[in-house]
Symmetry: C2
Subunit: 310 residues, 2 copies
Amino acid sequence: MNEFELIATLAKSLPANETVVVGAGDDCAVLDFALPDKLFLFKTDAVVQGIHFTSETPPEKIGRKALARCLSDIAAMAGTPAVALVTLGLPANFDPGFVRKIYDGLNALALKYNVAIAGGETTTNPGGLLLSIALLGTVARDKQVLRRGAKPGDAIFVTGELGGSLSGKHLDFEPRLAEAQWLAENFSIHAMIDLSDGLAGDLPHLLAAGGVGAELLKSAIPVSRAAKLPAQKSSSTKPPFAAALTDGEDFELLFTLPARDAVKLLDTWKKKFPKLKLSCIGKIVTGHGIILRDKTGSQKLNAHGYVHFS
Amino acid sequence: MNEFELIATLAKSLPANETVVVGAGDDCAVLDFALPDKLFLFKTDAVVQGIHFTSETPPEKIGRKALARCLSDIAAMAGTPAVALVTLGLPANFDPGFVRKIYDGLNALALKYNVAIAGGETTTNPGGLLLSIALLGTVARDKQVLRRGAKPGDAIFVTGELGGSLSGKHLDFEPRLAEAQWLAENFSIHAMIDLSDGLAGDLPHLLAAGGVGAELLKSAIPVSRAAKLPAQKSSSTKPPFAAALTDGEDFELLFTLPARDAVKLLDTWKKKFPKLKLSCIGKIVTGHGIILRDKTGSQKLNAHGYVHFS
């Protein structure tokens, strides 16, 4: 049994109660505490030394990244973050100055988005630094956008450009909170997810949640400059388009809405967010799986993010 | 700079916002999301292999303990737990069956207290198992009981018996949720904390928060059978009374209320909770620090839990 199978098994038997609107399996849990106009969003996310950052990563960026990842999940549901708790697991011989700088990065991002840090705890973690954020946010009642809800005929959009995040963006990305809130207020967004495992890794989650498939237009997928650079330096690295599909930690928004609204969205987006690219990359279809189309024909994309060149 | 000094420094500069009623430094954060009748309680707590449990600990008890610790913090504020998220850090070669059993223990306790497990995440933690719980609860508005609030003349009470938790109770303790809620509904509880670091470790937190001191009556402090047993077996172990003062993980409630209510409390408690001991162990005084009185005189107890026999 691998990690994904284990999670799927565990998720089936979790206790629920009357407050849980959406439990395990979406970007955040959605909770109803009988506030007339709001639902709550609840999320935890951890970064671990050697996996999400290295011993070379500046501590301010570790703190920033840990919170930004959670903010991105709140964005994926069109929510507003409110209050976080910080769990810091420290190896035995930690440097207090290093920890202070982790908090400097974390606090600066929290202030930017009016997120309170209301405590948390430090504990010993013998294997290395672990920083886990628990984040509570809100969303206007019935304005939450889930992973499920994509319908055949929907247009599929993605913000920004994809791939190459490890060259720097993974430590500096801006969570798309304002963009997501604007989308939910002004359009009928059917489904949304933030891209943490790459387009080829996360689109399947959105499709599976909705019981639908997708057709993507290869030329429409925005490939970042950071995804193109390594291939220019060495032919042995991942080709740019594969990087755009499979590199993790883009933290862009992937969402669908009725195709009839696509042109209006592109027009108004350009005025509202002139600095951030928005791309229509394909459409939702009946069935399941992802078909990738280009001039030469079509290919199937599998859930692990690799293109089968058939 | 040690861990406590670091935390104190960090806590001073955490971002706040309009939702935070009580931030870092109490058993839970207290949050106001404009629900007319309720405030929210928010808590995270982690257990780590080699610190809070060993490789010999049955996995069901690891899961149970992780959640029970958080429930005890909700109890310390007289709150009601509602929804938890689970962060599970796993070493590379984890056993899915072991993880399944962790959740069995956790889920059973969650069901008992009507706590929903609304998701969370698994991540790799190279140094060993880490299980962190983020818990959201509620408390009737203006019924939350904080660490601060103890007043000179208050009687000091403790539930249960103290010491020797490591011989088993630390894995099986019952969070005092019903007791704390009943106390807050029926009495004017001035201050409360749950005992995780021992009476001598946690009473100073309550005293410092209130700017007061305490006088304890040595003979009134309830010493558990588990604290007495090791000393019967070997004279080299911690004496029972020292164990009752300094052993951690009792997870009993320590609280103060006006002395005039002490007798009424003891009377009604016996009828309401006949199986759980309640002891009046001393009184709050002006000044600071803890004086321990017995037939032979008085001693000073320091914040690290050691008695100075002067």
